[in-house]
């Protein structure tokens, strides 16, 4: 108490640790913080009271960090999070792991108990450095107030450069309160961190030569293209060399979906043309994807006859899952720029083009229309009525796959989804972050009824800021993807995948002062979407979709990428 009194009387030329923190955040042009106060961060929150930086209060720390992820994905800037020590900090663990998997830049501050009691199992103490080491790109604990400006500068640099990722700064309470003269400026000191952005010229030339010789080339473009802001370059290169493009789940939007060279998404629920192209190609050019198992299927059958080229900013991704013949370490944009400059003759691939075109024509995504409201139909309507220009944020499960299949993204950075970690509860808070990143955009949160109920509390934030998010719940009264797997692989023994009790989502929305509609038929869907999509206010749409619908095509675990089931006959 006495210390606190002394602190308020401190000379104005002296700054507390919390002052230094906020000063550093202003220097990094931070616009918004998603944070939740608590004991250990009280000195920081006292300074935030007067700060110009917008602070958004999620209703759960996990919601805060997912919002920061959505913000980072859309804005391209790091999401900033504050959580208190102990439970506050452990509540953001899922978000850190998610951001690490999907390479999203975050700078996360966790409160910590005072330095004098660290290690004594003090109230709300948790070993956050220990817990977060394997799921962060880097982490710090402040040990001396004079390091604060440098540590924060380094954190932002690490989070955003090279392969982006989350950085945690653990901030003991006494150091946030401790007052000192403003420390001398310290430079960034990271001698062990020098990401390669400029690719090796010889490797690029080798790749260009392989392209000119190829008979059946295909590009697999991942989120690395988006992080490098290289979608225009990708289009230029693909058109120059007449190369067909396949996207990963996270890469969607990197190449315009309506383009004649676009084949679609590949992977477990990818389309026939994309998967077959990966299986049959003789040259596979991976740009910024990491050959995730949900993409490759059984590695034995993945691109068995292809020369594999892999452009990645993270050298550790090259050769990790798939043996690579032409490794190119560097930024996707730089690599594409160099490739475009090589101006070789486009490869001769008439036969290949014909094959691909017939796959694309004969085996599109398909579903059978019945009297019940089909989730695929709802996705098609959402695409149509937003003219393909909305920001689509999803949760995880069947609806996520339908969104990826049926929403034809025209431009980059309109797609937010939890890919690598597959985090349920991600969608609603991530849509909040996306809307803060682009306030004028139409944001559609495509959720399942399961995932929605994992972060329902964030409706309060939507109501508080009147964020005009369109919450589309694909309500099948089940954990659809789990149910689908149980139907196919476990003799339809639906173990704990059907929700016996569900609240009325419309009434729930109403409780937060948000408009809501239950939608049972296609006609209703038409009418209500026409009515609400252009409104500048939040709305919750409870689509009562066919509960027995499955996601197809599908590659079962352990099967090769060409062994799809549920392809159109």
């Amino acid at each position: 108490m006495e210390a606190a009194l002394k602190e308020t009387k401190a000379k104005t030329s002296e700054l507390s640790g919390a002052d230094l923190l906020l000063k550093a955040l202003e220097k990094e042009n931070v616009e918004v913080i998603f944070g939740y106060p608590g004991g250990a961060v009280l000195p920081i929150y006292d300074k935030l009271y007067d700060s110009k930086i917008l602070h958004v209060l999620p209703r759960h720390e996990q919601g805060g960090i997912h919002a920061a992820e959505g913000y980072a994905r859309i804005s391209g800037k790091p999401g900033v999070v504050i959580a208190t020590s102990g439970p506050g900090a452990t509540n953001i663990i899922t978000g850190l792991a998610d951001a690490m998997m999907d390479s999203l830049p975050l700078v996360v501050f966790t409160g910590q108990v005072a330095t004098g009691v660290i290690g004594t199992d003090a109230f709300q103490e948790a070993d956050i450095l220990g817990i977060t080491t394997p799921i962060t790109k880097y982490n710090y604990q402040i040990r001396d107030t004079k390091d604060i400006p440098r540590v924060i500068k380094e954190a932002f640099y690490i989070a955003t450069s090279g392969r982006p990722g989350p950085v945690v700064i653990d901030f003991p309470k006494d150091l946030a309160a401790a007052v000192s003269e403003e420390p001398a400026e310290q430079d960034i000191f990271l001698p062990g961190y020098q990401p390669t952005t400029e690719p090796n010229f010889l490797q690029v030339r080798k790749l260009a030569e392989a392209v000119s010789r190829a008979k059946r080339p295909v590009i697999l473009a991942g989120a690395g293209v988006l992080h490098a802001k290289a979608s225009t370059l990708l289009k230029e290169y693909a058109e120059q060399q007449k190369l067909h493009i396949v996207h990963t789940l996270l890469g969607l939007g990197g190449f315009p979906a309506g383009h004649e060279l676009f084949l679609g998404m590949a992977g477990m629920h990818g389309c026939y043309a994309a998967n077959m192209a990966l299986h049959q190609c003789d040259l596979l050019i991976n740009i910024g994807a990491r050959f995730d198992d949900r993409l490759t299927g059984n590695l034995k059958h993945f691109a068995p006859n292809a020369t594999v080229a892999h452009i990645d900013i993270d050298p550790a991704e090259i050769g990790k899952n798939v043996p690579t013949h032409i490794p190119v370490v560097g930024d996707a944009g730089e690599a594409l720029r160099q490739l475009i400059r090589q101006v070789g003759n486009p490869p001769e691939q008439d036969e290949w083009k014909e094959t691909i075109t017939s796959w694309k024509r004969d085996y599109p995504y398909h579903y059978e229309n019945t009297d019940l409201l089909k989730p695929q139909k709802v996705m098609e309507l959402l695409f149509e009525k937003t003219a393909g220009e909305a920001i689509v944020v999803t949760d995880v499960g069947q609806h996520q796959m339908w969104a990826a299949q049926y929403y034809q993204f025209k431009t980059a950075d309109r797609w937010v989804t939890s890919g690598g970690l597959g985090t349920m509860g991600f969608g609603l808070p991530a849509s909040i972050g996306a809307q803060f990143a682009d306030p004028s955009a139409c944001v559609v949160a495509v959720l399942g009824d399961g995932g929605f109920q994992m972060s329902t509390q964030e409706l309060a934030v939507i109501a508080e800021y009147q964020l005009p998010i369109k919450i589309a719940i694909f309500n099948n009264k089940a954990l659809g993807m789990v149910r689908q797997w149980q139907e196919i692989f476990y003799d339809a023994r639906y173990s704990h995948s059907k929700n016996p009790v569900q609240p009325s989502f419309v009434k729930l929305a109403d409780a937060y002062g948000i408009k809501g509609y239950e939608i049972h038929t296609e006609a209703e869907a038409h009418a209500i979407l026409n009515e609400v999509l252009n409104d500048n206010e939040p709305v919750l749409l409870d689509f009562r979709v066919d509960g027995e619908e499955n996601v197809y095509p599908m590659i079962a675990t352990g099967k090769g990428i060409h062994e799809m089931v549920g392809v159109k006959k």
Binding site: L129, T133, P134, P191, G192, P315, I318, G319, P327, V329
Partner: protein, 171 residues
């Protein structure tokens, strides 16, 4: 197969934890790890002996280690001409009737006795892992009361007679 990886790291809090964490996270099999200061202030050297199934795996480990922000330099020196040393301390019970027998084992290994008590001695031995193991095998029949090994630490030699250095694909 066994590989020796050496690295220099920034001596920051938690750096050893980061490295061992990485081995756990990626499911790598580690035999020994030794850490110590170097001639450069703030820089430590780590030597890891690992077991891998193939070259691809060791390449992956090297890359993952390199990716760590506190890691300055990583090298797989197994195929180079190297000096590798390990130190072991062994406490062996001695009885009047076998004392000279034990000493006759110690001598050819150029091990030294660094502590003597009424009924036991502590032997110190430095050398390559194979030598240490050969010594332990010989001394075991006399009964080992306690033993502590430091794990291998290693350097490439000043002169590389044969250049068998593996080229890795990271640029």
């Amino acid at each position: 197969m066994k590989r020796i990886i050496t690295m220099t790291v920034l001596n920051r809090p938690g750096v050893l934890n980061r490295i061992t964490n990485l081995f756990t996270k990626r499911n790598y099999n580690i035999e020994s790890i030794s850490v110590g200061l170097t001639e450069q202030e703030g820089v430590s050297r780590m030597t890891c002996v690992i077991h891998v199934e193939n070259d691809r795996m060791v390449e992956q480990i090297t890359k993952q280690l390199n990716k760590q922000i506190d890691v300055l330099k990583v090298a797989d020196i197994s195929d180079q001409a190297i000096v590798a040393r390990e130190l072991v301390l062994v406490k062996v019970p001695v009885l009047p009737h076998n004392r000279s027998e034990i000493y006759s084992i110690i001598e050819p290994f150029r091990a030294s006795v660094i502590d003597v008590s009424k009924d036991s001695i502590i032997i110190q031995l430095t050398g390559e892992t194979e030598k240490i193991e050969a010594f332990i095998d010989l001394i075991k029949p006399y009964g080992i009361k306690e033993m502590a090994r430091t794990g291998t630490t290693a350097f490439p030699r000043g002169n590389q007679r044969v250049s068998q250095q593996k080229a890795f694909s990271f640029v």
